[in-house]
């Protein structure tokens, strides 16, 4: 995705209805492009060693100290049951922040690389097909095409909700698959 393409995208969309247009940060993982609401992104960091949390699901790599706050780091690849890769110096951690009923919640997700920022209007998005029998679909809010590339928009709120129940279900599903 070039910046020219993004510019073009901006032009086409902004004329129509700029009100429900939102900006998304996109990142690459296993060749696919994913997007998260840019307002939920607190910062982007390089990968650093974490402190392992006991008995955590395997997609929780551990916790780090983010300026005095303990922040858990989630490996999105293993969260989505994708093939694992070695972390390299260019491996990126996106720190996401959402408001929940329990207050603000901050969590980092490990992704392959950060890609771009797109302005996407809600009306351009398509619901993901419902037929997919996969736990991960619940994290997907919608799909959108930008310059013939599909971007998977993620529901950050759900992604960061790692309640015990979901954890257990996830663990079971993961175990079943193995």
């Amino acid at each position: 995705m070039t910046s020219a393409a993004q510019q073009k995208n901006n032009d086409t969309v902004s004329g129509v209805n700029s009100d429900d247009e939102q900006q998304y940060l996109t990142f690459i993982m296993a060749g696919e492009e994913y997007g998260v609401d840019i307002l939920a992104v607190q910062e982007i960091r390089g990968w650093e060693a974490t402190t392992v949390v006991p008995n955590a699901p395997d997609y929780i790599k551990g916790v780090i100290n983010l300026r005095g706050t303990i922040v858990p780091i989630m490996d999105l690849r293993s969260r989505f049951n994708l093939e694992r890769v070695e972390y390299s110096p260019v491996t990126v951690v996106i720190i996401l922040k959402v408001e929940t009923e329990r207050g603000e919640r901050v969590m980092g997700i490990v992704v392959d690389a950060v890609s771009d920022v797109h302005s996407i209007s809600d009306s351009d998005t398509r619901n993901s097909p419902e037929l997919i029998e996969d736990l991960n679909t619940e994290f997907i809010r919608s799909l959108v095409s930008v310059d013939d590339n599909m971007i998977i928009l993620l529901d950050v709120q759900r992604l960061l909700t790692i309640d015990k129940q979901i954890l257990n279900i996830a663990a079971e599903v993961a175990a079943d698959k193995e």
């Binding site: 060693a49 974490t50 402190t51 392992v52 949390v53 006991p54 008995n55 955590a56 929780i60 551990g62 916790v63 780090i64 100290n65 005095g68 706050t69 303990i70 922040v71 858990p72 207050g103 919640r105 901050v106 969590m107 790692i162 309640d163 015990k164 954890l167």
Partner: protein
């Protein structure tokens, strides 16, 4: 000039809640046989400032209600009236009611005035009743009881209905202003209006009768002179001082005479007053009606008649029906009064949590001193740094150690700010015990010890409810009834002792009663009945006692509203566990039970021992470490194949490998020669195998739950000097689950 008053609302609420607490505790401390004037003054002052504040901020509901309370208090203070037990009860209800009003106001919602109006009319009845009684017109007008108060209101109503005016409570004010009163900027009309407001606030009214005698001929009249004089009839139970206050500005220049209305010269008054008589009755009836209505709202159809009758009476104002109304009002109010205590309890439990903290000036001064020292040290070090050479290493080290000391002191002082005496948590108990013992018809002495023991504010806020549960339980289940106690040869009154003291890094809070103690057989059979234990399981006393903390367990035969539903003790234990605390119970049949709660002094900072397991650093709370030893083969025993125990002096201590509990992928080690940290949590010792002991340091506890979730056996996280995160091990959590966690993967450990 516009000042946004709302910015002060929070302060007002806080002060008022404090004032209410003071009122409550003073009321409870009041010894009726020997009334201490200072206590009454304290109560009065508290009520007065609440009234004043509420008036300033426009909370008229609160101020007008408090005004009545204050009036009665003022009479008591002035010695015009003896305080009685029933007054105290009524005042306590008022405190609850006010607290409810304030909570509503604070939450920004419209307060429910039903209870306030109800109480207000009771106060007015007392005030009215007193006037009558002193004049000897109505006998026994003040039955101080809550039910009785309305009786008196009814009887005043009754006597008002009669032809003589004496029962009408109020004042006759002869107001003869000097002629140039208008020139001094005093407007009589404004005073009358103020009087009227005052009277209407009391449910009364004002009648102004002008006297035109002094009016000169028109040609001689000076437009700026006042030739009128007035007779003002104030028909409301207002303090004379309040009326005087209104005329305060003109009292020097004018002729003002006050007379109690009942005593007043009837011939002058009567002619004006005759038409109002009926109106007055209606007024009184209408103040009484809400009481009846409310009672009816809760009771069934029967009392509906009362309202109808009350209404019809108003219309007809027939004498004979008043009696009936009076009777029914009595009934209604009596019913109402019965319902009052549980309501009151509800109101008090609803009290909002304070979000700010009051710190004594000493602590602040101490802090300022310390910061001063810190600044000095800093400038000393700064100077040293500018012209440093090797010869000054000595001074640098001195400076650094001074800095360290300053920092530690500063930290301690800041922590102290969060510390409050536990009396904040204890203060609610005198009231609670008083109400409950009445409700349960038991006699209870409450003894509170160690009230000055300091505890972190956060802990304090969370320990309140569990403590209430415990005290309620002790009162309801623990203490026997008066008859039972006398039969057993015990003193009539049971004793509940609340005690708090520091013990190591913990605070211990004890709730002790001298009641019947826990009935082991009954607990046992109940536990078997509920399937918590097997029929023939052998349990130690401690284990049986421990059963009461199981969910859904209650031995109370009758479920009362005090306790007995079996929700409680398990919640208590859970709440306390959330604070990293523990609760134990010990009991001797026939002699009573003792619940002791152990809590860490603060939730924010912990003395920790750093240990290394594999690549990870964990922290053990220093207070829970008993000792650290190196394992020897001779100490080791293997029970059930994969659970190792170690003989340490007279104990057998289970051994736990942290890497197993935490599922850390590490090579299994030989236990022999391993480093073992013996820790104690929940009164049980376990040995934890670690790779290496690192240093000890104070760590600041950070929440792991905030962004992640609760992790078993981990109580929190902290940040070490190098910026990495280390997890703090929850010893009692570890203690409760070592065995089942290990069974599948410990086999190798041998």
């Amino acid at each position: 000039m516009s000042i946004d008053l709302s910015q002060f609302h929070q302060v007002f609420f806080e002060e008022s809640f404090e004032g209410l607490d003071i009122m409550e505790s003073s009321l409870l401390a009041l010894d009726l046989s020997e009334v201490d004037a200072e206590t009454i003054n304290t109560i009065f002052r508290a009520a007065h400032s609440i009234k004043g504040g509420a008036g300033t901020f426009g909370f008229m509901q609160v101020s007008s209600f408090t005004h009545v309370v204050e009036t009665l208090l003022d009479e008591i203070r002035g010695g015009d009236r003896d305080i009685e037990q029933d007054h105290v009860d009524l005042f306590l209800l008022c405190v609850d009611c006010l607290r409810g009003l304030m909570t509503d106001l604070q939450a920004g919602s419209e307060p429910d005035m039903a209870q306030a109006d109800d109480l207000k009319s009771k106060f007015e009845a007392i005030l009215a009743g007193e006037t009558i009684a002193t004049e000897g017109n109505v006998e026994g007008a003040i039955e101080g009881t809550v039910e009785g108060t309305i009786e008196s209101s009814a009887s005043s109503l009754e006597s008002k209905q009669g032809s003589d005016e004496s029962a009408l409570q109020g004042w006759k004010v002869e107001f003869i202003p000097c002629e140039d009163v208008l020139c001094t900027g005093n407007e009589p009309y404004r005073m009358f209006r103020e009087l009227q407001d005052l009277a209407e606030a009391e449910g009364g009214g004002v009648e102004v009768i002008p006297h035109l005698e002094r009016l000169p001929e028109f040609s001689k009249m000076h437009p700026e002179m006042c030739y009128l004089s007035w007779t003002i009839l104030v028909r409301a139970g207002i303090e004379l001082s309040d009326i005087e206050e209104i005329f305060e500005w003109v009292v020097d220049e004018c002729d003002i005479r006050y007379q109690k209305l009942a005593d007043s010269d009837l011939s002058t008054v009567e002619s004006h007053q005759a038409p109002e008589t009926i109106e007055d009755v209606n007024e009184v009836a209408s103040t009484a009606t809400p009481v009846a209505e409310e009672a009816i709202a809760e009771e069934a159809v029967v009392e509906e008649v009362v309202v109808e009758e009350a209404v019809s009476t108003e219309e007809i104002s027939g004498e004979q029906k008043i009696d009936q109304v009076t009777e029914k009002l009595d009934q209604a109010v009596a019913e109402k009064a019965k319902n009052a205590p549980p309501k009151a309890a509800k109101a008090s439990s609803k009290a909002a949590e304070n979000t700010s903290i009051r710190v004594s000036i000493d602590k602040i001064d101490g802090l300022i001193n310390m910061v001063g020292e810190l600044v000095i040290t800093q400038s000393m070090l700064g100077q040293l740094g500018q012209e440093f050479d090797v010869s000054r290493v000595q001074r640098l080290q001195e400076g650094l150690s001074q800095l360290e000391q300053n920092t530690r002191e500063l930290q301690e002082s800041v922590m102290k700010i969060r510390m409050l005496p536990i009396s904040f948590a204890f203060s609610r108990f005198p009231r609670l015990v008083r109400d409950l013992s009445k409700q349960l018809d038991k006699e209870v002495d409450l003894v509170m010890l160690g009230e000055n023991t300091e505890l972190d504010k956060t802990v304090m806020e969370k320990i309140g409810d569990p403590l209430v549960h415990l005290v309620r339980n002790s009162l309801d289940h623990g203490l026997e009834s008066v008859e039972e106690r006398t039969d057993k040869g015990k003193s009539r009154a049971g004793t509940i002792t609340l005690n708090a003291y520091h013990h190591g890094g913990n605070i211990v809070i004890e709730v002790k009663d001298d009641g019947a103690g826990l009935n082991k057989d009954r607990i046992r059979s109940k536990a078997i009945e509920k399937g918590l234990i097997g029929e023939d399981e052998v349990l130690t006393d401690a284990q049986i006692h421990d059963l009461i903390f199981q969910a859904g367990f209650s031995t109370a035969d009758v479920v009362s509203d005090v306790s007995g539903r079996g929700v409680g003790m398990d919640v208590v234990r859970r709440n306390i566990a959330e604070l990293n605390g523990t609760i134990d119970v010990s009991s001797t049949p026939g002699e009573g039970s003792l619940f002791s709660i152990r809590l860490p002094l603060t939730l924010a900072i912990l003395d920790g021992q750093l240990v290394k397991v594999g690549e990870e650093v964990y922290i053990f709370p220093l207070v829970s470490i008993v000792e650290s030893i190196q394992l020897e083969k001779s100490m080791l025993n293997n029970i059930t194949g994969n659970q190792f125990v170690m003989q340490l002096r007279n104990d057998y201590i289970p051994i736990v490998c942290l890497q197993d509990v935490f599922n850390i992928d590490l090579e299994k080690k030989d236990l022999e020669g391993a480093m073992l940290v013996v820790v104690e949590g929940d009164n049980e010792k376990i040995g934890i195998v670690v790779d290496e002991l690192l240093g000890q340091q104070q760590v600041v506890i950070k929440s792991l739950e905030k962004n992640y979730q609760k992790v078993d056996s981990i109580s929190g996280a902290t940040i070490l000097g190098d910026g990495t995160v280390a997890l703090i091990v929850d010893i009692s959590g570890l203690n409760n689950k070592p065995v089942d966690k290990n069974t599948d993967d410990q086999t190798q450990a041998a």
